[in-house]
Each structure stands twice: as C-alpha cells, then as structure tokens.
C-alpha cells in the first residue's frame, strides 16, 4: 500500500529543488520532514498533494490525500460547518463529529474570520480528517500559532493520528517539534533525503529523553546548526 516516490524531480528555472528523490512512507507512519528554508520541503509536500503540475518522476499514492496548510485556508464566506463539508458527500453528522473531535462543536455556525488562530487551525485539521485520508499532509501547520496553543494542537494531532491512523507527513523547520511528534524524521538537503532516522521512544515524550537529546544534536548538525550556538 504505502506511498512511494521515485525519481521525483523539480526545478525552478536553473535551481534544482528536488533531484531524483526516492522515498517510501509507510501506512499509518508519522513522518516529519525537516530542511533548511528553501530546501524544497514544501515543494515535496505540494507534489504529494497534487498541487504541482511540473514535477517529474513517479508519485504513487494509494487512497486519498488531505492537506492542512500553514495558514488554515478556511473559505471565509462559508460558515464553519459548511467549510468542513465542502466537496464532501458524507452526511452532516460526520462533519459535526469531526468538529466535536477538535473541540469546535459549538462554533459550527461561526464565520471563519471570527475564529482565533488556534481554532481556525483545528478547524482546518477537522476538514482534512473528515475525508478519512490515507495520507495526511501537514505543511508547517503549527508555525503561526502561539507557544501555548501550539502545545495543545500538538496533543490534538497526536490524538487524532492515534485514532484515525493515517500516514502523516509533517513539514516543519522545528527539530523539537519533529522529535516530539514523529516516528521517523527525514532531512531534505540538496534535493534528496539526506538523513532518515527512526525514533523508538514511546509517547508522551520528554525533551530530556536521552534518545531525543542525541537525535537533536545529530539533526541540528545535519541542518548545519551547531547546538552549542543555541541557548
């Protein structure tokens, strides 16, 4: 089943962003994709989402794909519930359940512009998950949230993942976030997967876990940052 990419390439003019990239994402696997800014991690995600028509190579995704973007991208002229059901044949009760799952049952009639950043991002997750995807793509969905909201939304994503078990590809630039959430962490560099590490620590995880501490140093080095330089 799994999602397979082979020989995936994409260039913007002379700049090669993805260079004959191979990757397999296992079913139900939570993968984080790290990379420096401009390393092509969003390009890879967009290719998987079917939003990039100029990418070459083979992308083989079985089952449906859903995306939650960096900005929630709710349709502003549709009330929350209508946003969840947009393009969906499933009954309304299912959409209501999805809203309840992310704690927004009461806001079903609200206009998206009246939601807080955290609420809108949770709604965006509900809109993705109500489609029961086999592959859930998360494009830095936490980066615009404040630190406290981010912690609760992290928890929420883990809960939803545990319940629905889609394969998840989380694009992020935050090493700690990747270590806290994922089973597997990839580092994209020069258009290819430069590092591919698995995390065995159980959840909930703590930043001080020796495995995570060691991995953090490795990953930061892979990203070209020396940990000593950080406070």
């Amino acid at each position: 089943m799994a999602t397979r990419l082979s020989g995936v390439a994409r260039a913007f003019g002379d700049r090669v962003v993805l260079d004959s990239l191979d990757l397999v994402l296992g079913d139900g696997e939570f993968t984080a994709l790290l990379g420096r800014s401009g390393s092509g991690k969003s390009t890879l995600l967009r290719a998987l989402a079917g939003l990039d028509h100029e990418v070459t190579g083979t992308i083989d995704v079985t089952g449906s794909v859903a995306v939650a973007f960096q900005e929630p991208r709710l349709v502003p002229w549709k009330r929350l519930l209508a946003n969840i059901t947009l393009g969906l044949d499933a009954p309304v009760t299912k959409a209501k359940e999805a809203l309840a799952e992310v704690g927004l049952a009461e806001r079903a009639d609200a206009w998206p512009l009246t939601l807080s950043g955290g609420e809108a991002q949770r709604a965006s997750l509900a809109r993705a998950l109500v489609r029961e995807p086999e592959l859930l793509l998360l494009d830095e969905p936490f980066s615009a949230l404040d630190a406290l909201t981010r912690i609760t939304v992290h928890q929420l994503v883990l809960e939803l993942w545990a319940r629905h078990r889609p394969a998840v590809l989380l694009v992020t630039h935050d090493v700690d976030e990747a270590l806290l959430l994922a089973d597997r962490v990839l580092v994209l560099d020069e258009g290819r997967i430069a590092h591919d590490v698995s995390i065995t620590a159980g959840r909930p995880r703590h930043r001080e876990d020796p495995e995570l501490v060691a991995l953090r140093t490795t990953l930061l080095a892979a990203l070209g940052v020396s940990p000593e330089g950080r406070s």
Partner: protein, 273 residues
C-alpha cells in the same frame, strides 16, 4: 471636537452609531444645510434671487405637492423608473455574463476583454445620435443607453473580482477534490461578489446619469421631459422638484444595494467591526 477630523472607515463608523458624542455630531450636521435653506428663502422673498433663476424653497415644496396631487409627478417617476429598471436589468445581465465568460477562461478573456476595453473608451453619451438613427426616438434608445452605461462597471468589477480570488483557496479546492463547477460555485463566484457589489453601486449611479442625459434629448414622457418642459415656461420650481426626485431615486437605489451588501457580505462583518 477636534478641528481636523480624519476620514474614518465607513463600516467602522456605522458599527458604532450610538453614543452621546455621535448623536450630537449628527444633529450638528443638519445646521448648515438648514441655514442655507433659510438664507435661500429670504433671498427669494426679498427679490434678491428672482424666480426665473431659482424658485423659493417654499414654492418648490408646494409645487411638489401640486404635481403629486395632479398625478404628473408620479406618472413621470413611473416612466423614468421603468426605463432605468429595464435598462439596468439588460445591461447588468450582459455585463455580468460577459465578465463570467472572460473571467472563467483564458479563451473567453481573449474573446471578450479586448472588445470590452475598446468599447469602454467610447464616450457613450456621444452615441446618442447613432442610437436615435438606429432606434428612433421611442423608449429603445433611452433604455439602451442606460443598459450600455450599466454594463461596463459591472463587467469590469466582476471580471477583476473573479481574477482577484485568492489562489490559495483555489488550491484548497484542488485538495478537497472539488469539480470545476463546484470551484466556480463555492469559491470563485462568492469570492468575486464583494467586487461585483462595488460595480453594482457604480452601475446604479451611472444608470441615473445615463437616464437624465437620454431624457434631455428627446422625450415626451418621464422626469426629463417634465424638466425640459418646465424650462420652456421658466418654471424653475418644477425643474428643482425634478432634480430633487432624481437624487432621491439615486439615493434610494444606493440604499438598496447597501442593504444587499450588508446581507451578502455578512461573513466580513466580524473582522470589519
């Protein structure tokens, strides 16, 4: 109150209509027009402002009552309103349909937009002689002039509204597997609506203008005829009544669009208020 008051967003001002300061300001705003009216009445009464130039406000008011009672004014309003309505419907439909054709496909844009841009450059009041030659002096040239005037603001605004729809939402539509029809219905058209409503307000303004011009040229009925006829007899009171009715009708139609705007764009109220 400060001497220099900066313009503030209209929506904001409307969102807080109450409060004592606001009420006092609203009342103050009536003072200067009232004063002007009083000065005007005095000038007329003392003969400083002769009636053949401009009738006194009191005379204008009584003339309005007379014209209404005699049925002249309601009939004229009915005729003019009908011209604007039909012209508006014809021109508005044409403008919006053309904007959809041009906005929704590149081929449509190539077919429609160059022609519309070229026609837009024509001074449409200059078309009156041609319209008279083509359609005579009946209702058609008047209605068509209104229709032509209305179609451009609606076309231009709807077209740019469609093209201005956030590409990020179109991507969402792709990831949600919306069909092209669903994309147009749920994303493109509602996204273009605010701009279309701007076009609608412009169109209504220009519709009345086009009607006034059309009715000046050759009319045997309607408000324009009433005004022209009054000129022959130096009835400045009737002329002013006609002008006031024109502006009242213009304001009324504008108010209707604003009401429409408030209902259709309710989703924006949250963040404007």
């Amino acid at each position: 109150m400060s001497v220099v008051e900066l313009a503030r967003p209209i929506e904001k001002a409307r969102a807080t209509p109450k409060g004592p300061r606001r009420r006092v300001t609203a009342w103050h705003r009536w003072l200067s027009p009232l004063a002007l009216l009083v000065v005007w009445q005095i000038a007329s009464a003392t003969g400083l402002l002769p009636e053949r130039l401009l009738a006194a406000p009191a005379d204008i008011a009584s003339t309005a009552v007379e014209l209404t009672q005699a049925g002249t004014l309601p009939t004229a309003i009915g005729v003019s309103l009908q011209r604007v309505l039909i012209g508006f419907l014809v021109g508005g439909t044409a403008g919006i349909v053309l904007a959809l054709v041009a906005g929704l496909s590149r081929a449509g844009e190539n077919a429609v937009d160059p022609i519309m841009q070229a026609l837009r450059a024509l001074p449409f009041f200059g078309l009156i002689p041609l319209f008279i030659l083509w359609f005579g002096i009946g209702e058609e040239p008047k209605i068509l002039l209104v229709a032509l005037a209305v179609s451009f603001p609606l076309y231009l605004n709807t077209f740019s509204g469609i093209r201005g729809v956030d590409g990020k939402l179109a991507e969402v539509a792709t990831t949600l597997k919306l069909s092209r029809g669903q994309l147009i219905r749920h994303i493109v058209l509602p996204g273009a609506l605010p701009q279309t409503l701007v076009g609608l307000r412009q169109a209504l303004g220009v519709a009345w203008l086009a009607l006034i011009v059309a009715e000046q040229v050759n009319a045997t009925t309607g408000l324009g005829y009433m005004i022209n006829d009054a000129r022959e007899f130096l009835r400045t009171d009737v002329i002013v009544v006609g002008l006031l009715v024109y502006s009242a009708l213009g304001l009324a139609t504008d108010a209707i669009v604003r009401l429409l705007e408030r209902r259709a764009l309710a989703w924006r109220r949250g963040f404007l208020a």
